[in-house]
Protein backbone atom coordinates (compact mmCIF):
# COMPACT_ATOMS: atom_id res chain seq x y z
CA UNK A 1 0.00 0.00 0.00
CA UNK A 2 1.33 3.40 -0.94
CA UNK A 3 1.03 6.64 1.00
CA UNK A 4 -1.41 7.86 -1.66
CA UNK A 5 -3.63 4.87 -0.94
CA UNK A 6 -3.66 5.62 2.80
CA UNK A 7 -4.53 9.24 2.09
CA UNK A 8 -7.26 8.01 -0.23
CA UNK A 9 -8.71 5.74 2.44
CA UNK A 10 -8.55 8.44 5.11
CA UNK A 11 -10.24 11.00 2.86
CA UNK A 12 -12.95 8.47 2.13
CA UNK A 13 -13.68 7.44 5.72
CA UNK A 14 -12.54 10.43 7.82
CA UNK A 15 -15.04 13.06 6.62
CA UNK A 16 -17.93 10.60 6.81
CA UNK A 17 -17.13 9.84 10.44
CA UNK A 18 -16.97 13.58 11.09
CA UNK A 19 -20.51 13.84 9.71
CA UNK A 20 -21.66 11.95 12.82
CA UNK A 21 -19.90 14.56 14.96
CA UNK A 22 -21.77 17.34 13.09
CA UNK A 23 -25.05 15.48 13.69
CA UNK A 24 -24.22 15.04 17.40
CA UNK A 25 -23.38 18.75 17.79
CA UNK A 26 -26.58 19.74 16.01
CA UNK A 27 -28.66 17.42 18.17
CA UNK A 28 -27.07 18.67 21.39
CA UNK A 29 -27.90 22.26 20.51
CA UNK A 30 -31.36 21.50 19.18
CA UNK A 31 -30.36 22.74 15.73
CA UNK A 32 -31.73 19.61 14.08
CA UNK A 33 -35.19 21.17 14.47
CA UNK A 34 -34.18 24.23 12.46
CA UNK A 35 -32.46 22.23 9.70
CA UNK A 36 -34.12 18.78 9.66
CA UNK A 37 -33.29 18.06 6.02
CA UNK A 38 -29.61 18.84 6.53
CA UNK A 39 -29.65 16.67 9.65
CA UNK A 40 -31.10 13.75 7.64
CA UNK A 41 -28.64 14.48 4.82
CA UNK A 42 -25.72 13.87 7.21
CA UNK A 43 -26.99 10.36 7.97
CA UNK A 44 -27.77 9.71 4.32
CA UNK A 45 -24.21 10.56 3.33
CA UNK A 46 -22.84 8.40 6.12
CA UNK A 47 -24.99 5.43 5.09
CA UNK A 48 -24.10 5.89 1.45
CA UNK A 49 -20.39 5.92 2.25
CA UNK A 50 -20.81 2.69 4.30
CA UNK A 51 -22.52 0.94 1.37
CA UNK A 52 -19.99 2.22 -1.16
CA UNK A 53 -17.01 1.34 1.00
CA UNK A 54 -18.38 -2.17 1.57
CA UNK A 55 -18.87 -2.61 -2.19
CA UNK A 56 -15.31 -1.36 -2.71
CA UNK A 57 -13.91 -3.87 -0.18
CA UNK A 58 -15.98 -6.71 -1.65
CA UNK A 59 -14.85 -5.70 -5.13
CA UNK A 60 -18.44 -5.51 -6.40
CA UNK A 61 -18.39 -2.83 -9.10
CA UNK A 62 -22.01 -3.35 -10.18
CA UNK A 63 -23.35 -2.83 -6.65
CA UNK A 64 -20.98 0.13 -6.24
CA UNK A 65 -22.20 1.79 -9.45
CA UNK A 66 -25.87 1.27 -8.67
CA UNK A 67 -25.53 2.41 -5.05
CA UNK A 68 -23.61 5.47 -6.23
CA UNK A 69 -26.26 6.31 -8.82
CA UNK A 70 -29.23 5.89 -6.49
CA UNK A 71 -27.42 7.65 -3.64
CA UNK A 72 -26.49 10.59 -5.86
CA UNK A 73 -30.08 11.00 -7.04
CA UNK A 74 -31.41 11.03 -3.45
CA UNK A 75 -28.58 13.36 -2.39
CA UNK A 76 -29.50 15.84 -5.12
CA UNK A 77 -33.11 15.95 -3.89
CA UNK A 78 -31.86 16.51 -0.33
CA UNK A 79 -29.51 19.27 -1.48
CA UNK A 80 -32.42 21.19 -2.97
CA UNK A 81 -34.28 20.68 0.30
CA UNK A 82 -31.31 22.04 2.29
CA UNK A 83 -31.11 25.08 0.04
CA UNK A 84 -34.79 25.68 0.72
CA UNK A 85 -34.08 25.45 4.46
CA UNK A 86 -31.36 28.09 4.16
CA UNK A 87 -33.63 30.43 2.20
CA UNK A 88 -36.59 29.87 4.50
CA UNK A 89 -34.69 30.16 7.82
CA UNK A 90 -35.39 33.91 8.26
CA UNK A 91 -39.13 33.45 7.69
CA UNK A 92 -39.50 30.10 9.47
CA UNK A 93 -41.97 31.55 11.99
CA UNK A 94 -44.43 32.95 9.47
CA UNK A 95 -46.38 30.30 7.54
CA UNK A 96 -47.74 32.54 4.71
CA UNK A 97 -44.35 34.11 4.13
CA UNK A 98 -42.74 30.67 4.24
CA UNK A 99 -45.07 29.43 1.48
CA UNK A 100 -44.35 32.54 -0.56
CA UNK A 101 -40.58 32.05 -0.24
CA UNK A 102 -40.86 28.32 -1.06
CA UNK A 103 -42.89 29.09 -4.20
CA UNK A 104 -40.42 31.78 -5.25
CA UNK A 105 -37.50 29.41 -4.69
CA UNK A 106 -39.10 26.58 -6.68
CA UNK A 107 -39.54 28.84 -9.69
CA UNK A 108 -36.03 30.22 -9.32
CA UNK A 109 -34.56 26.71 -9.08
CA UNK A 110 -36.50 25.56 -12.15
CA UNK A 111 -35.35 28.63 -14.09
CA UNK A 112 -31.74 28.12 -13.04
CA UNK A 113 -31.74 24.42 -13.99
CA UNK A 114 -33.18 25.34 -17.39
CA UNK A 115 -30.60 28.09 -17.97
CA UNK A 116 -27.74 25.86 -16.79
CA UNK A 117 -28.91 23.06 -19.09
CA UNK A 118 -28.97 25.38 -22.10
CA UNK A 119 -25.57 26.84 -21.18
CA UNK A 120 -23.89 23.47 -20.58
CA UNK A 121 -25.60 21.81 -23.57
CA UNK A 122 -23.90 24.46 -25.71
CA UNK A 123 -20.54 23.21 -24.38
CA UNK A 124 -21.30 19.57 -25.18
CA UNK A 125 -23.02 20.24 -28.50
CA UNK A 126 -20.21 18.65 -30.52
CA UNK A 127 -20.22 15.48 -28.35
CA UNK A 128 -23.96 14.73 -28.38
CA UNK A 129 -23.42 11.26 -29.90
CA UNK A 130 -21.31 10.14 -26.91
CA UNK A 131 -23.22 7.72 -24.58
CA UNK A 132 -22.27 9.51 -21.32
CA UNK A 133 -22.92 13.04 -22.47
CA UNK A 134 -26.56 13.15 -21.32
CA UNK A 135 -25.64 12.01 -17.82
CA UNK A 136 -22.89 14.66 -17.68
CA UNK A 137 -25.34 17.25 -18.92
CA UNK A 138 -27.90 16.50 -16.20
CA UNK A 139 -25.35 16.23 -13.37
CA UNK A 140 -23.47 19.40 -14.31
CA UNK A 141 -26.66 21.40 -14.92
CA UNK A 142 -27.99 20.52 -11.47
CA UNK A 143 -24.60 21.27 -9.88
CA UNK A 144 -24.41 24.64 -11.62
CA UNK A 145 -27.99 25.50 -10.62
CA UNK A 146 -27.31 24.57 -6.99
CA UNK A 147 -24.13 26.68 -6.93
CA UNK A 148 -26.15 29.58 -8.32
CA UNK A 149 -28.77 29.03 -5.60
CA UNK A 150 -26.06 29.17 -2.91
CA UNK A 151 -24.86 32.44 -4.43
CA UNK A 152 -28.46 33.71 -4.37
CA UNK A 153 -28.87 32.59 -0.74
CA UNK A 154 -26.09 34.96 0.31
CA UNK A 155 -27.67 37.74 -1.76
CA UNK A 156 -31.07 36.97 -0.22
CA UNK A 157 -29.72 37.51 3.30
CA UNK A 158 -27.89 40.65 2.15
CA UNK A 159 -31.12 41.93 0.59
CA UNK A 160 -33.03 41.31 3.82
CA UNK A 161 -30.28 42.92 5.88
CA UNK A 162 -30.03 39.76 8.00
CA UNK A 163 -26.98 38.05 9.42
CA UNK A 164 -27.01 34.30 8.73
CA UNK A 165 -27.00 32.09 11.80
CA UNK A 166 -23.61 30.31 12.15
CA UNK A 167 -25.03 26.94 11.12
CA UNK A 168 -26.90 28.32 8.09
CA UNK A 169 -23.71 30.08 7.04
CA UNK A 170 -21.63 26.94 7.57
CA UNK A 171 -24.10 24.78 5.62
CA UNK A 172 -24.10 27.24 2.72
CA UNK A 173 -20.31 27.50 2.57
CA UNK A 174 -19.79 23.74 3.01
CA UNK A 175 -22.32 22.90 0.33
CA UNK A 176 -20.77 25.52 -1.93
CA UNK A 177 -17.40 23.79 -1.57
CA UNK A 178 -18.92 20.34 -2.09
CA UNK A 179 -20.90 21.32 -5.18
CA UNK A 180 -18.25 23.65 -6.61
CA UNK A 181 -15.71 20.81 -6.54
CA UNK A 182 -17.61 18.84 -9.20
CA UNK A 183 -17.00 21.22 -12.14
CA UNK A 184 -13.38 21.49 -11.00
CA UNK A 185 -13.04 17.71 -11.23
CA UNK A 186 -14.57 17.72 -14.73
CA UNK A 187 -12.03 20.33 -15.84
CA UNK A 188 -9.08 18.48 -14.33
CA UNK A 189 -10.11 15.06 -15.66
CA UNK A 190 -10.38 16.59 -19.11
CA UNK A 191 -6.90 18.07 -18.77
CA UNK A 192 -4.87 15.23 -17.20
CA UNK A 193 -4.01 11.70 -18.34
CA UNK A 194 -6.15 8.79 -17.01
CA UNK A 195 -3.19 7.73 -14.87
CA UNK A 196 -3.62 10.89 -12.79
CA UNK A 197 -7.37 10.42 -12.20
CA UNK A 198 -6.70 9.07 -8.70
CA UNK A 199 -4.97 12.36 -7.78
CA UNK A 200 -7.97 14.32 -9.05
CA UNK A 201 -10.27 12.12 -6.97
CA UNK A 202 -8.09 12.79 -3.92
CA UNK A 203 -8.36 16.52 -4.56
CA UNK A 204 -12.15 16.26 -4.74
CA UNK A 205 -12.23 14.24 -1.51
CA UNK A 206 -9.92 16.79 0.16
CA UNK A 207 -12.33 19.59 -0.79
CA UNK A 208 -15.20 17.56 0.63
CA UNK A 209 -13.17 17.06 3.83
CA UNK A 210 -12.75 20.84 4.12
CA UNK A 211 -16.52 21.22 3.60
CA UNK A 212 -17.21 18.78 6.46
CA UNK A 213 -14.73 20.62 8.69
CA UNK A 214 -16.61 23.84 7.92
CA UNK A 215 -19.84 22.11 9.02
CA UNK A 216 -18.15 20.88 12.22
CA UNK A 217 -16.86 24.36 13.02
CA UNK A 218 -20.14 26.17 12.41
CA UNK A 219 -22.20 23.49 14.19
CA UNK A 220 -19.91 23.96 17.17
CA UNK A 221 -19.72 27.79 16.99
CA UNK A 222 -22.15 29.66 19.15
CA UNK A 223 -23.92 32.68 17.79
CA UNK A 224 -22.45 35.79 19.28
CA UNK A 225 -24.73 38.68 20.07
CA UNK A 226 -23.71 41.89 18.32
CA UNK A 227 -23.25 43.39 21.78
CA UNK A 228 -23.85 42.34 25.36
CA UNK A 229 -27.43 41.02 25.40
CA UNK A 230 -28.24 43.00 28.55
CA UNK A 231 -27.14 46.13 26.75
CA UNK A 232 -29.30 45.35 23.73
CA UNK A 233 -32.40 47.18 24.91
CA UNK A 234 -31.02 50.64 25.79
CA UNK A 235 -29.97 51.38 22.20
CA UNK A 236 -33.48 50.43 21.10
CA UNK A 237 -35.03 52.86 23.54
CA UNK A 238 -32.56 55.43 22.31
CA UNK A 239 -33.74 54.77 18.75
CA UNK A 240 -37.42 55.00 19.60
CA UNK A 241 -37.67 58.80 19.16
CA UNK A 242 -36.03 58.37 15.79
CA UNK A 243 -38.63 55.78 14.86
CA UNK A 244 -41.28 58.21 16.06
CA UNK A 245 -40.07 60.75 13.55
CA UNK A 246 -41.41 58.59 10.80
CA UNK A 247 -44.92 58.72 12.24
CA UNK A 248 -47.34 61.16 10.66
CA UNK A 249 -47.00 64.65 12.13
Amino acid sequence: MTLQHYIFLYLWLGPHLLLLLVAALMYRRGQHKAFPIFFAYLFLQFLQSCVLFSAYLLKAPVIYREAHLIGSAIETAFQFGILQEIFAAPVANGAPLLRQVARMLNWTAAGLVFMATVFIAAFYYSKFGHPMVHTYLIVESIDAAQCALIFLAFLWYRFLGLRMSPLAFGIAVGMGLELGADPLVVILKNSVSPASYRSVDILQMAIYHVAVLVWVYYAWAREKAPSDSKAALPPLIERAPELGRIVRP
Binding site: F154, G176, P226, L243
Partner: protein
Protein backbone atom coordinates in the same frame (compact mmCIF):
# COMPACT_ATOMS: atom_id res chain seq x y z
CA UNK B 1 -11.03 23.94 -24.67
CA UNK B 2 -12.76 27.32 -24.44
CA UNK B 3 -15.67 25.70 -22.60
CA UNK B 4 -13.26 24.26 -20.01
CA UNK B 5 -11.63 27.65 -19.51
CA UNK B 6 -15.03 29.30 -19.00
CA UNK B 7 -16.10 26.55 -16.57
CA UNK B 8 -12.78 26.91 -14.73
CA UNK B 9 -13.11 30.67 -14.41
CA UNK B 10 -16.69 30.38 -13.12
CA UNK B 11 -15.62 27.77 -10.55
CA UNK B 12 -12.68 29.87 -9.36
CA UNK B 13 -14.96 32.93 -9.12
CA UNK B 14 -17.44 30.90 -7.06
CA UNK B 15 -14.76 29.68 -4.63
CA UNK B 16 -13.45 33.23 -4.37
CA UNK B 17 -16.96 34.42 -3.57
CA UNK B 18 -17.22 31.84 -0.75
CA UNK B 19 -13.83 32.93 0.61
CA UNK B 20 -14.97 36.57 0.60
CA UNK B 21 -18.12 35.61 2.50
CA UNK B 22 -16.02 33.88 5.21
CA UNK B 23 -13.63 36.83 5.42
CA UNK B 24 -16.51 39.31 5.51
CA UNK B 25 -18.26 37.39 8.28
CA UNK B 26 -15.15 37.04 10.44
CA UNK B 27 -14.27 40.72 10.02
CA UNK B 28 -17.77 41.79 11.10
CA UNK B 29 -17.88 39.48 14.11
CA UNK B 30 -19.32 41.08 17.23
CA UNK B 31 -20.00 44.44 15.70
CA UNK B 32 -23.47 45.85 15.66
CA UNK B 33 -24.48 47.53 12.42
CA UNK B 34 -25.17 51.25 12.50
CA UNK B 35 -28.88 51.88 12.86
CA UNK B 36 -30.04 54.72 10.73
CA UNK B 37 -33.61 55.45 9.75
CA UNK B 38 -34.60 57.97 7.13
CA UNK B 39 -37.75 59.94 7.93
CA UNK B 40 -40.52 59.46 5.36
CA UNK B 41 -43.46 61.77 4.77
CA UNK B 42 -46.18 59.17 4.43
CA UNK B 43 -48.86 61.77 3.65
CA UNK B 44 -46.91 62.88 0.61
CA UNK B 45 -46.33 59.27 -0.43
CA UNK B 46 -50.01 58.42 -0.13
CA UNK B 47 -50.88 61.51 -2.13
CA UNK B 48 -48.53 60.44 -4.92
CA UNK B 49 -50.12 57.01 -5.13
CA UNK B 50 -53.73 58.02 -4.45
CA UNK B 51 -56.06 56.72 -7.24
CA UNK B 52 -58.52 59.58 -6.66
CA UNK B 53 -55.79 62.16 -7.05
CA UNK B 54 -54.69 60.39 -10.21
CA UNK B 55 -58.25 60.37 -11.53
CA UNK B 56 -58.62 64.07 -10.81
CA UNK B 57 -55.45 64.84 -12.77
CA UNK B 58 -56.55 62.59 -15.61
CA UNK B 59 -59.87 64.44 -15.93
CA UNK B 60 -58.42 67.94 -15.68
CA UNK B 61 -55.21 67.73 -17.71
CA UNK B 62 -54.65 67.18 -21.42
CA UNK B 63 -53.42 63.59 -22.07
CA UNK B 64 -49.82 64.57 -22.90
CA UNK B 65 -49.52 66.76 -19.82
CA UNK B 66 -51.14 64.08 -17.65
CA UNK B 67 -48.57 61.51 -18.78
CA UNK B 68 -45.74 63.89 -18.00
CA UNK B 69 -47.12 64.83 -14.56
CA UNK B 70 -47.93 61.21 -13.74
CA UNK B 71 -44.40 60.10 -14.65
CA UNK B 72 -42.94 62.75 -12.34
CA UNK B 73 -45.25 61.59 -9.54
CA UNK B 74 -44.26 57.94 -10.09
CA UNK B 75 -40.54 58.82 -10.06
CA UNK B 76 -41.02 60.58 -6.73
CA UNK B 77 -43.02 57.60 -5.38
CA UNK B 78 -40.16 55.27 -6.36
CA UNK B 79 -37.77 57.32 -4.26
CA UNK B 80 -40.14 56.97 -1.31
CA UNK B 81 -40.39 53.20 -1.80
CA UNK B 82 -36.60 52.92 -1.93
CA UNK B 83 -36.35 54.74 1.40
CA UNK B 84 -39.12 52.57 2.91
CA UNK B 85 -37.19 49.49 1.76
CA UNK B 86 -34.02 50.82 3.38
CA UNK B 87 -35.92 51.48 6.61
CA UNK B 88 -37.37 47.95 6.45
CA UNK B 89 -33.80 46.60 6.47
CA UNK B 90 -33.10 48.70 9.55
CA UNK B 91 -36.20 47.31 11.23
CA UNK B 92 -34.98 43.77 10.45
CA UNK B 93 -31.67 44.62 12.11
CA UNK B 94 -33.50 46.07 15.15
CA UNK B 95 -35.62 42.90 15.44
CA UNK B 96 -32.60 40.68 15.08
CA UNK B 97 -30.57 42.59 17.65
CA UNK B 98 -32.84 41.38 20.49
CA UNK B 99 -32.46 37.67 19.66
CA UNK B 100 -30.27 37.20 22.73
CA UNK B 101 -32.28 39.38 25.09
CA UNK B 102 -32.98 37.75 28.48
CA UNK B 103 -36.70 38.62 28.29
CA UNK B 104 -38.56 36.00 26.16
CA UNK B 105 -41.32 38.52 25.40
CA UNK B 106 -38.83 40.93 23.84
CA UNK B 107 -37.29 38.07 21.84
CA UNK B 108 -40.76 37.07 20.55
CA UNK B 109 -41.56 40.69 19.64
CA UNK B 110 -38.22 40.94 17.87
CA UNK B 111 -39.02 37.85 15.82
CA UNK B 112 -42.44 39.22 14.93
CA UNK B 113 -40.83 42.50 13.89
CA UNK B 114 -38.35 40.65 11.68
CA UNK B 115 -41.23 38.79 9.99
CA UNK B 116 -43.18 41.97 9.36
CA UNK B 117 -40.15 43.88 8.16
CA UNK B 118 -39.25 41.07 5.73
CA UNK B 119 -42.82 41.10 4.41
CA UNK B 120 -42.57 44.87 4.07
CA UNK B 121 -39.28 44.52 2.23
CA UNK B 122 -40.85 42.08 -0.22
CA UNK B 123 -43.79 44.41 -0.70
CA UNK B 124 -41.37 47.23 -1.43
CA UNK B 125 -39.79 45.12 -4.18
CA UNK B 126 -43.23 44.35 -5.62
CA UNK B 127 -44.14 48.05 -5.41
CA UNK B 128 -40.94 49.04 -7.17
CA UNK B 129 -41.75 46.63 -10.01
CA UNK B 130 -45.30 47.95 -10.20
CA UNK B 131 -44.10 51.57 -10.18
CA UNK B 132 -41.58 50.82 -12.92
CA UNK B 133 -44.34 49.32 -15.04
CA UNK B 134 -46.57 52.33 -14.30
CA UNK B 135 -43.73 54.61 -15.33
CA UNK B 136 -43.64 52.91 -18.74
CA UNK B 137 -47.43 53.00 -19.15
CA UNK B 138 -48.70 55.88 -16.98
CA UNK B 139 -52.16 56.00 -18.56
CA UNK B 140 -52.87 52.27 -18.22
CA UNK B 141 -51.30 51.29 -14.88
CA UNK B 142 -51.77 52.96 -11.52
CA UNK B 143 -49.26 52.90 -8.67
CA UNK B 144 -50.30 51.38 -5.35
CA UNK B 145 -49.83 52.70 -1.81
CA UNK B 146 -50.64 49.46 0.05
CA UNK B 147 -47.06 49.35 1.25
CA UNK B 148 -47.72 52.32 3.57
CA UNK B 149 -49.95 50.34 5.93
CA UNK B 150 -47.38 47.57 6.20
CA UNK B 151 -44.65 50.07 6.91
CA UNK B 152 -46.65 51.70 9.69
CA UNK B 153 -47.43 48.34 11.31
CA UNK B 154 -43.76 47.25 11.28
CA UNK B 155 -42.55 50.63 12.50
CA UNK B 156 -45.12 50.65 15.30
CA UNK B 157 -43.87 47.23 16.45
CA UNK B 158 -40.27 48.44 16.44
CA UNK B 159 -41.15 51.49 18.51
CA UNK B 160 -43.06 49.44 21.09
CA UNK B 161 -40.12 47.00 21.22
CA UNK B 162 -38.00 49.87 22.45
CA UNK B 163 -40.43 50.41 25.32
CA UNK B 164 -41.71 53.74 24.02
CA UNK B 165 -45.38 54.20 23.25
CA UNK B 166 -46.02 55.55 19.78
CA UNK B 167 -49.02 57.74 20.37
CA UNK B 168 -49.62 58.88 16.84
CA UNK B 169 -48.96 55.65 15.06
CA UNK B 170 -51.80 54.44 12.88
CA UNK B 171 -52.13 50.69 13.29
CA UNK B 172 -53.13 48.98 10.12
CA UNK B 173 -53.73 45.23 10.03
CA UNK B 174 -51.13 43.50 7.89
Amino acid sequence: MISLIVLGLVTVAFFLFLAIQIWHRSSRRGTAGAVQLTPVDLDAFENLTDPEEENYLRLNLPPAEFRSVQRSRIRAARVYVAVLSQNASTLVAVGQSVRHHPDPGTVASGQELVQRAIRLKMWCVASEVRLSAALAFPTILSPSSSVTGRYLAAKHMAASLGGQPVAQARTTPV
